[in-house]
C-alpha cells in the first residue's frame, strides 16, 4: 500500500478532497463534466448504431451482397450454373448462393396495374431466404406445386385487391410477339399461392415465380437461370471478395450491394460522425475542468509540496502525485459515466415510454428506438475520455513540480 510513494500520496489526496470545501466543489464539477460527456456519448452512439443496424438488417437481409450474372448486354442463360454455385460456396464468408432469373414485368389484377420486379427462383435453394420467416399465407415452396403459381408481398396484394387463390396476369411488355394484330406483349395468368410481409419495400415491389415459368415467359430455354446471388456473413466483406471472384470467374459481371444502397449507408455514417464530433466537445470542455480543479489542489497543497521536497522527494515524483490524483478524477468520471451510459442505453425505451416523451412525433407512437450497444464503442469512448483527462493533468502536475520550497515555507 505504501509503495510507490507518489502513487500512495496521490491516491490519498484524491480521496480526501471531498472534505476540503471549494476544491471538492470544482472536482465534483470536473467529474460531472466527464460523466455527462461519456454517458451521452455512449447513449447517442448506441442509438445511431441501432438505426444503422436496423437499416442493415432491413436492406442487407434482402438485397444480395454480390450478384454474379451471365447477362452482358443481351439476357442469356448461365451454362451449368450448378458447378459455378458449388465453386462460389467454397469461398470463405459466403453464407448462401441462390440461382435466379429476373426481369421487369407488369402485374395486373381486375382493379389495378403495377410495375414489379419478377424473380424466377428455385424454392429448394431459397430455404435461407428471409421471406420464409415472414410468410403471412401459403409457403414459398408452393411455387413448385401448381404450375404458374406466384408469391407476392402483402402490400402489393392489398393494392391489387387480390388474395390467395385469385388469378393475376403477368405481362412482359418488352418481350413481344409480332402478330398481324400488331405487337402483343407476352402475358400469362398466374395463381396467387403465397403472401409474405417483411416490412420493407420488397413487400410491394417484388413477385416470385418458379424459374421455369419465368424462362417460358422470357422465351428462354431450360430453367433460364442467368444469375447467381451471393449472401455473405458480413455484407461489408463484399468489397474484398468481389475482386477475388473476378479473377477466378472470368466472363461474368459482378455487382455489389453498395452500388445500389451505398449512398444510404454513407449518409447514415456521415450523420454518426457529426454526432461523435458534437459529443466529444462535451468531454473536451470537461477536461478543462480537470485542469482547473487540479490547479486549485496544487495551490492548496503548496505547503505540503514544499515540505515533501525538503524530505527529498524529486520533482519527477511530485509530477506523478498530481497525475495520479487527476487521473483518479478522470477515472471516477469515466467509470460512473460509462455505467450511467450503459444503464441509460439498455432501458432507454422503457424510460421513454414511462416519461411519455415521444421524440418521433405522433405518427410513430408505438415505434421503439432501435438500440445497439457495441462493446468496442464503449471501449473507445472510455479510452479517449481517460486520455483526455490524462492530458489535462499534465499542466497542473508540471506546475506543481515548479513550486519553490523556499518561497512556500518562508514564514517570518
Amino acid at each position: 500500500m505504501f509503495q510507490p510513494v507518489s502513487f500512495f500520496i496521490g491516491l490519498r489526496y484524491s480521496r480526501s478532497q471531498n472534505r476540503s470545501g471549494f476544491v471538492s466543489f470544482i472536482t465534483f464539477f470536473s467529474i460531472a463534466g466527464i460523466l455527462l460527456g461519456v454517458a451521452s456519448l455512449i447513449t447517442v452512439v448506441s442509438v445511431m448504431n441501432g438505426f444503422e443496424g436496423e437499416l442493415k438488417k432491413k436492406i442487407l437481409g434482402l438485397v444480395p451482397h454480390i450478384v454474379v450474372s451471365a447477362e452482358q448486354e443481351k439476357p442469356a442463360n448461365m451454362p451449368h450454373w450448378q458447378q459455378q454455385r458449388e465453386k462460389l460456396l467454397a469461398y470463405s464468408g459466403v453464407k448462401a448462393v441462390t440461382p435466379l432469373i429476373e426481369s421487369e414485368a407488369l402485374i395486373q389484377s381486375p382493379s389495378t396495374l403495377q410495375g414489379v420486379l419478377l424473380q424466377g427462383i428455385i424454392p429448394e435453394y431459397e430455404t435461407g431466404h428471409i421471406i420464409n420467416q415472414h410468410m403471412v399465407a401459403g409457403e414459398l415452396s408452393s411455387l413448385d406445386g401448381m404450375p404458374y403459381s406466384l408469391v407476392m408481398g402483402q402490400a402489393l396484394a392489398h393494392k391489387l385487391n387480390v388474395s390467395v387463390g385469385d388469378k393475376i396476369r403477368l405481362v412482359i411488355p418488352n418481350k413481344t410477339v409480332f402478330t398481324p394484330m400488331g405487337r402483343v406483349p407476352v402475358q400469362r395468368t398466374f395463381t396467387l399461392t403465397g403472401v409474405f410481409n417483411v416490412g420493407s419495400q420488397i413487400d410491394d415491389a417484388v413477385v416470385y415465380i418458379q424459374s421455369r415459368a419465368a424462362a417460358k415467359l422470357l422465351r428462354r430455354k431450360g430453367d433460364g437461370i442467368s444469375q447467381l446471388r451471393l449472401y455473405l456473413n458480413d455484407a461489408f466483406y463484399a468489397g474484398e471478395l468481389t475482386p477475388q471472384l473476378k479473377q477466378d470467374l472470368s466472363g461474368y459481371t459482378f455487382t455489389t450491394w453498395n452500388e445500389s444502397q451505398g449512398a444510404l449507408f454513407a449518409a447514415v455514417s456521415m450523420e454518426k460522425n457529426m454526432m461523435w464530433l458534437m459529443l466529444s466537445l462535451i468531454v473536451a470542455v470537461a477536461a478543462f475542468n480537470i485542469v482547473s480543479a487540479l490547479v486549485m489542489v496544487v495551490i492548496d497543497k503548496q505547503g505540503e509540496i514544499g515540505i515533501l521536497q525538503t524530505l527529498g522527494l524529486a520533482r519527477g515524483e511530485i509530477v506523478k502525485i498530481f497525475i495520479t490524483q487527476g487521473m483518479v478524477n478522470g477515472l471516477w468520471g469515466v467509470v460512473l459515466g460509462s455505467i450511467l451510459g450503459v444503464l441509460l442505453t439498455l432501458n432507454l425505451n422503457t424510460l421513454m415510454s414511462v416519461t411519455g416523451i415521444n421524440i418521433f412525433g405522433p405518427g410513430y407512437a408505438s415505434q421503439l428506438l432501435p438500440i445497439q450497444l457495441e462493446a468496442w464503442n464503449v471501449a473507445v469512448i472510455v479510452f479517449s475520455a481517460l486520455m483526455m483527462s490524462f492530458v489535462a493533468t499534465l499542466y497542473p502536475a508540471y506546475r506543481a513540480s515548479k513550486t519553490q520550497p523556499a518561497e512556500v515555507l518562508r514564514n517570518e
Binding site: 402478330t179 394484330m181 400488331g182 405487337r183 395468368t189
Partner: protein, 216 residues
C-alpha cells in the same frame, strides 16, 4: 431505303410517301381516296378465300432488322382467319367469326378477344369482313397499280398503316406499320386462292393443360 432485302415482289413503303398525300388540296384528296377505296374493295371482293405460307421480317423505327419469322395462314369470309407462326416461336391466331383466339404454346395459354373491338386494332381482318361500315375508320390511298395503303384514323390504334400488295388480282404480300413505327413485312408464297378451306380449319379447341385467358 432498306437494302439487302430479299425480292419478294412488292415495293417497300417509303417514309416519303406519307407526306405527299397531305399536301394535295383537300377536295381532290377526298376524291382520290374514294376511288382508291372502291378499287381496293373490288379487289378484295373477288378474293373469297386463300391460303399461303408467309415469311416475315420485322424492322424497328430506324430500319434495323429485329427479327425474321415464318408460318402459314388460311383466310375465309366472313372474318375467318387461321394464322400459325412457326418461327422464331410458335403461336396461333384463329378467328372463328365471333372470337379471336391467340394461343401461345410456350406459356400454355390461350387468350380470347371479342372480335368487335379486336378488328379496330387489326386491319388484316378487313380482308375477311363483309361489314362495309368498318371502313370508315380507315382512309385508303392507292400507292400505285399494285399497292394500296390503309391508314387507321384513330391515333390510338395499335396498327397505324396496312399496305396491301397485289399481283393483278392476287394478294402477294402486305406490310404492317405499328404505332411506335415498327414495320412488319409479310411475303406470301405458295398461295392458293382456289380451294375453299374447310369449316373446321377455323375452329379453335383449347389444348389440354392450357389456360384460357378470356378477355371477351
Amino acid at each position: 431505303h432498306v437494302d439487302g432485302h430479299k425480292d419478294i415482289g412488292a415495293k417497300p413503303v417509303s417514309k416519303a410517301y406519307q407526306t405527299a398525300v397531305d399536301t394535295a388540296p383537300a377536295d381532290k384528296l377526298k376524291q382520290e381516296a374514294e376511288q382508291a377505296k372502291l378499287a381496293l374493295l373490288a379487289k378484295l371482293d373477288n378474293i373469297k378465300h386463300f391460303s399461303a405460307q408467309f415469311s416475315q421480317q420485322v424492322f424497328d423505327a430506324d430500319g434495323n432488322l429485329l427479327q425474321n419469322g415464318a408460318g402459314n395462314l388460311v383466310v375465309g369470309k366472313p372474318d375467318l382467319v387461321y394464322w400459325q407462326t412457326t418461327e422464331p416461336d410458335e403461336s396461333l391466331i384463329v378467328s372463328d367469326g365471333e372470337t379471336l383466339w391467340f394461343y401461345d404454346p410456350f406459356v400454355e395459354q390461350a387468350t380470347a378477344y371479342g372480335l368487335a373491338n379486336a378488328i379496330a386494332n387489326t386491319p388484316i381482318l378487313l380482308l375477311t369482313s363483309q361489314d362495309k361500315s368498318i371502313w370508315q375508320n380507315y382512309r385508303i390511298s392507292k400507292v400505285n397499280d399494285t399497292t394500296f395503303a390503309v391508314h387507321a384514323l384513330d391515333s390510338n390504334s395499335q396498327v397505324k398503316t396496312l399496305e396491301l400488295n397485289f399481283d393483278r388480282d392476287k394478294l402477294t404480300g402486305f406490310v404492317i406499320v405499328d404505332a411506335s413505327g415498327q414495320l412488319s413485312r409479310f411475303a406470301l408464297t405458295g398461295s392458293d386462292f382456289a380451294t375453299a378451306p374447310k369449316k373446321e380449319q377455323f375452329q379453335f379447341t383449347l389444348p389440354p393443360g392450357a389456360y384460357l385467358d378470356d378477355q371477351r
